[in-house]
């Protein structure tokens, strides 16, 4: 009986699960492994803060999450009250990020659909191509890191 087996030099195709979402109408992508969940939007409580882009907290049951103001980071404004919370797995602990309502989409991209930036310390780690669309790929673990901002 003939069987087909992979050649000695063949390697499994690498795929990267991606979550596509939008903030103030601006579409972004992030690796699915860095997303801790998508929750219905609830009102956050402002926190006086000198920490850039971190200016509120959100409570979900017995848990409290700091809010990362990605809209301010992107310099966009929300167009409607239809919003969701996305939990970002940042290096120092999970953070809540407000995103546009409408279910974010889940994509599985081939490695050749992602172009990573060379080095750098920004939270934008590259670009990904989904169909005819090119989207910036953010690292949620480094959210807020921007070498242009001192």
């Amino acid at each position: 009986m003939l069987t087909i087996s992979p050649g000695q030099n063949s390697k499994p195709a690498k795929t990267v699960p991606i979550v596509v979402f939008s903030v103030g109408g601006q579409r972004l992508a992030a690796r699915a492994e860095e997303v801790g969940g998508i929750w219905p939007w609830t009102e956050a409580m402002p926190v006086p803060s000198g920490t850039r882009f971190v200016d509120a907290i959100m409570r979900q049951g017995e848990k409290v999450f700091p809010v990362f103001n990605l809209a301010e980071r992107l310099r966009v404004k929300f167009q409607s009250q239809d919003r969701l919370w996305m939990i970002a797995k940042r290096f120092d602990g999970p953070m809540a990020v407000c995103i546009d309502g409408g279910t974010p989409s889940f994509e599985v991209l081939g490695a050749d659909s992602i172009h990573y930036a060379n080095g750098g310390e920004s939270d934008i780690i590259g670009m990904c191509r989904i169909g005819a669309e090119e989207l910036p790929l953010y690292s949620l673990t480094r959210l807020g890191d921007d070498p242009r901002e001192g």
């Binding site: 402002p46 926190v47 006086p48 803060s49 409570r59 409290v64 700091p66 120092d92």
Partner: protein
Amino acid sequence: MDTRPESEALVQNGVRSFLVVICGRTRLAIPGEIIRGIVRPEEGAVPDALRSLNVNRVGELADRLGLTSIVSTSDPILICGTAAFRRAFRVGGVEGLHDVRVECIFPLLPHFRGPERHWFSGMFLYSDSVALVIDSRWLLGQDLGPDQTADTAAAPTSSDEARAGSAQWLASDGLGDPRRFDLIELEEATDADDLPWAEL
């Protein structure tokens, strides 16, 4: 877990008392041991009571923290301080005294890395939200600013004394008729919704 040394905070039977107030959309918890009283000012003027308490100026707690808040002259005024000096702050509202077990107070989240780590010593779950614990030392400051004067007279040092004796204490300062302004007696509250003054 509250990381402040327990000697700096009044802890009784593993419980700390806080006065929960509102500034804008933010709930703040003022340590009970520094609360000297609450005053509802007469419309349009700073009550003579404040002057008698050696408080020359009323600050806006929301402004101090950079919070957006619509201020009204009828908003309650907190008198905070120690035996050495006092400060007065106007707040948007008072939700009441709240006892919190020490193990239920946790530090400000590590994502906050700026000066706010000096403003707040922790936070706790309160009602359906969260209350930020104001750092007493930051709120009062160690220097005598322009809005306070030194008061060498003895003052209550425990929250219980402050609660029970506020009317007596004010009377002993020679204020005369206490009905010139509304004195709000502090009562322990387990839930803001149950407070008779929830409408403040």
